[in-house]
Amino acid sequence: MTPDPNRKSPSDLTPSVGAATDIAPLGRTQPRPAHELTAAEEAQVTDWNKVAAMEEFRALLKAKLRFIAPATAFFAIYYFALPVLVGYAPELMGKKIFGAVNLAYLFALSQFVMAWVIAALYVRAAGRFDKMAEAILAKLKFK
């Protein structure tokens, strides 16, 4: 056992905090793992600007933008085409396609399919984004 450097004299038997004789050190000596940190504590330990400047992070943002921007533009245009056509070209939209079923009803139904397809495509793309985000966290030793 190594002598305790904090001890003033060999006759002073007061145990000091953290001495080998203590059953357990008070508090935690190791930094807390990321999942136990509160947002406020983490604000000081993470250099957000450094993460934001990481090449991997910029690539993640770019990949997200490359999916989300065109997908949003597409669903917005496809969706607003319905009220515009129904409102301004009711004769065209009233054209019967199958029996009594007209273009307006089919176009409205297609909006449901469109929404589901975009959601499915997004979930697939987001799996890729998750992997990129995990790689960044791993590099930062948070995982």
């Binding site: 993470t46 993640l60 307006a104």
Partner: protein, 538 residues
Amino acid sequence: MSTALLMFVGFVGVTLVITYWASRRSSGANAFFAAGRQITAWQNGFAVAGDYMSAASFLGIAGMIAFQGYDGFMYSVGFLVAYLTVLLIVAEPLRNAGKYTMADVLAYRMKARPVRAMAALSTLTVSTFYMIAQMVGAGALVALLLKSSGISYEAAVIGVGILMIVYVVFGGMLATTWVQIIKAILLMGGTILLSIIVLGHFGFSLSAFFDAISHVTYHVTKDSVKTEVIQNFLQPGLRYKPPYGALDLISLGMALLLGTAGLPHILVRFYTVPDAKTARYSVVWAMVLIGTFYIMTTLLGFGAATIVGRDFITDNGGTNMSAPLLAQALGGNFFFAFISAIAFATILAVVAGLTISASTSFAHDFWTNVIHHGTERKPGEEVLVARVTAFVVGAIAITLAILLGSKANVAFLVGLAFAVAASANLPVIVLSLFWKRFNTAGAVCGLATGLAASLALILVSPSLMTIDPPTVTGAARHLFQHKPLFPLENPGIVSIPLGFLGAIMGALLSREPAAEAKFAELTVRANTGLGAEKASLH
């Protein structure tokens, strides 16, 4: 005791058991406000659907399709496509960067007090208006459905109000979530069953079904002359007529598409799941349910128009009774009672969701962060304040609903809630997430402009400002007897751009280096989930 009443009591009994179970399990703020963030993807998907598909959808949209055909279906389309905005833009960043409320994300980079105060005001406005619409509808509906049991409008309103207070005060978010899940299961089950029976009525032949819709017969009485009308209900334009119909449709579309992602009671649902990935899958679950449901609203609405007929519905309670009357025509009194009980469950789940989001916003945003600068003075204070708020909000909603009375014209309040959410909340959410230069002045200005513009335009719109013929009396009369100053029912097409403009102008006219400096932090948090709130029951 009638069958309908028995089913109501059964549903209430089950939900009270859940509330008791939830109150035993949960303690602490995370449990009360966010169900411990331990709700799974499918559970949250059902709860989102249960929170969203209100009586206005089940009864109102079915009724609108039954009476105005295709144009009513336009609501159904918007209600689903709106979830793409939630899925692609809002849900995951919100879950990653926020804690309990929408304002957590808005105030992230900004000076907390002014932004949270405005956001709380906007949340309370949206929730209260939406709730009053639901309560008046609930009271009228329950009184109508339980006519034989002798329950009055006032008794029904008080009953619904007390139940929603009990769910929220004792069971918090966990009980609210399970009430919404059960409601969603019942609503989906009932709607699928009813739709199959409607198709069965036409021998499962879609062409026979659509043929019937293309010539719906009903009678119109004008100047005491009764004329027969035969109309193709698949033809657009029965509700939205020239000269402003097309603009009103586009305006409605904008409010639905952008408003859903700004509804506080929907947004708080994403805090109840463990992480952003679960939030994403829960939106997908919700989209499957909501989409399926709204496609079936055409079967219910067109079914009611063809099988029951407009004349009969008008004589037996009006548009909102279309779906229950359809159930009665196809399945007799038992099925009528079943569908009525589902409508009742639907209302309860939605008002409980509204109550908890309003209380959370008041306690977390206003009490703790605005008044007490972000710290609880003693542990548990925030939850206590939220419980008291839920009680107060419930009492106010009951009082207002009784004062307005069952005949009050309240349908516009739902439209108003969507308009405020789209014009005030959404622009500020989007700009604070994606625009580095955005700041406190911009957020406050955007929220204020969007809120004021939607309120002002609704006040002078045909919903509140119309000259009624002298035959219309009492609460059904419009508030202002004047030619409408704003021609559209829905203010979105003007108020949404104004909300964005207010937010952008406010930001450009001021500089806030601190807000710009924190943009990197918000972006990293929102996109990686670093430092996001973790699941725990404490």
